[in-house]
């Protein structure tokens, strides 16, 4: 039996990992755009960014995915499954990520900005040389957790029939009817994929608390 199911799981795992990585990259950009947008001097930008964040945090990934996949086509926008999945995952995670970006940026002590002003740095130099490098390090653990949440979120795409790990498992289960083995293996696979991230986060947190900060 294992000879039959392991290759299928491998195919599913590739889709799951691809989906996670693509979405993570896009979410990262969205998080910065929206995070900075919420700190913008311009009211219109702030309102736009805040609306995006509140809408996507106020509903769940599940609802967003189904809306993008089933409701958008009625506007004539028919997205391929993979794209719909990446879009839903990254829009959702980007909204949470923007909060990480915003909160770490405002947590850099005010004295840092003041010292940068006293050295006559331009606003962009202050951000690039002084604020961001400090904020980025603080963001890392939170972004690591966000990626794990995204990995877990990818399971939902099986419900719109994208052939990820979970989808493969449900299909296998309906043909060979061995739920105990199949779902146990499935859980373990997800756990194993998440391991490098959990280890990485722990390592960074350890470095941060022991390090020069």
């Amino acid at each position: 039996m294992w000879f039959d199911i392991l290759p299928s799981f491998w195919e599913g795992a590739k889709v799951t990992i691809e989906l996670t990585l693509f979405s993570a990259v896009m979410a990262f950009f969205l998080a910065f755009a929206a995070g900075f947008g919420r700190l913008s001097k311009h009211k219109a930008v702030r309102i736009l960014a805040t609306t995006y964040v509140e809408v996507f945090r106020g509903t769940s990934l599940f609802v967003q995915l189904f809306w993008i996949y089933f409701a958008l086509p009625l506007f004539g926008i028919m997205l391929p499954k993979m794209l719909a999945g990446v879009l839903a995952l990254s829009l959702n995670a980007g909204a949470y990520g923007s909060e990480i970006v915003r909160s770490t940026i405002i947590s850099v002590p005010k004295g840092q900005t003041e010292a940068a002003i006293a050295l006559n740095m331009t606003p962009w130099q202050r951000t690039r040389l002084v604020i961001l490098p400090q904020a980025l390090v603080m963001m890392l653990p939170a972004f690591g957790n966000l990626i794990i949440e995204m990995l877990k979120g990818t399971a939902l795409v099986s419900l719109v029939t994208l052939s990820d790990l979970t989808f493969v498992a449900t299909v296998l289960n309906s043909s060979i009817m061995r739920p105990t083995e199949i779902f146990s293996v499935l859980l373990v696979i997800y756990f194993v994929i998440s391991l490098p991230f959990t280890r990485g986060i722990r390592w960074i947190e350890h470095r941060l608390s022991a390090g020069r900060y």
């Binding site: 609802v63 794990i148 997800y190 756990f191």
Partner: protein, 216 residues
């Protein structure tokens, strides 16, 4: 494209299913509150196997998808003689999943208690049970109430996942209505707007609570 007539036609049905969504949320939250506390205490236990088990459980459950955990409870347990209804399987799955998050919240609250409190309890000869019951928990839980409130909202938003194990809450109702009429737009939009309004307004309430707690 958007039909108000159809919207009004299906709205009552979706609203009726909101009862299931909300009761699932609260029952699951109760499960998470209790199991989360047990996990926290177990992780602090001096009995190594227990603390290791609790730690492993938290790690494993936190890092695997809720959907798959629900499948496990709903499809695997019956194989071993434990058949659960969609509602029970759903609240157990959702509750266990978030108990691992809540155990972290409790842990943060407990760790923020200054060591002097433990020492004072010892000096006054409190039993371990009384130390927890009278000194530590009463101090560590109130400050984390807003965080718990936010998790309640998160769990509320996550309930659509329960539709995957055939629980007829609002998302499942919307899916069924949509597949009947081939019109998903209105049904899914109603669900989205409902979640948005309820979770946004409750998160504003939590924020107010937080401000009030901070003032004290």
């Amino acid at each position: 494209m958007w039909s108000w007539e159809y919207t009004l036609e299906i709205l009552p049905e979706i609203l009726a299913a909101l009862k299931i969504t909300i009761s699932a949320t609260f029952v699951a939250f109760a499960v998470a509150l209790v199991v989360g506390l047990i996990l926290t205490l177990a992780r602090r236990s001096a009995f190594k196997p227990l603390s290791l088990f609790a730690h492993g459980f938290v790690e494993f459950v936190r890092n695997t998808p809720l959907l798959v955990q629900l499948y496990f409870i709903f499809y695997v347990l019956p194989e071993h003689g434990l058949s659960l209804s969609p509602f029970v399987a759903g609240v157990v799955g959702l509750g266990l999943h978030y108990s691992t998050y809540l155990s972290e919240v409790y842990r943060g609250g407990i760790e923020s208690i200054p060591p002097g409190q433990w020492e004072a309890a010892k000096a006054l000869n409190f039993s371990p049970i009384d130390t927890w019951r009278k000194i530590i928990l009463p101090q560590s839980i109130p400050p984390v109430i807003p965080v718990l409130g936010n998790y309640l909202i998160t769990m509320f938003k996550e309930t659509p996942v329960l539709s995957a194990i055939t629980l007829v809450e609002i998302m499942q109702t919307a899916k069924m209505l949509g597949s009947h009429s081939f019109r998903y737009l209105e049904a899914f939009t109603i669900v989205g707007v409902m979640f948005l309004i309820l979770s946004y307004s409750s998160s504003l309430m939590v924020r107010r609570l937080e401000v009030r707690l901070n003032l004290r």
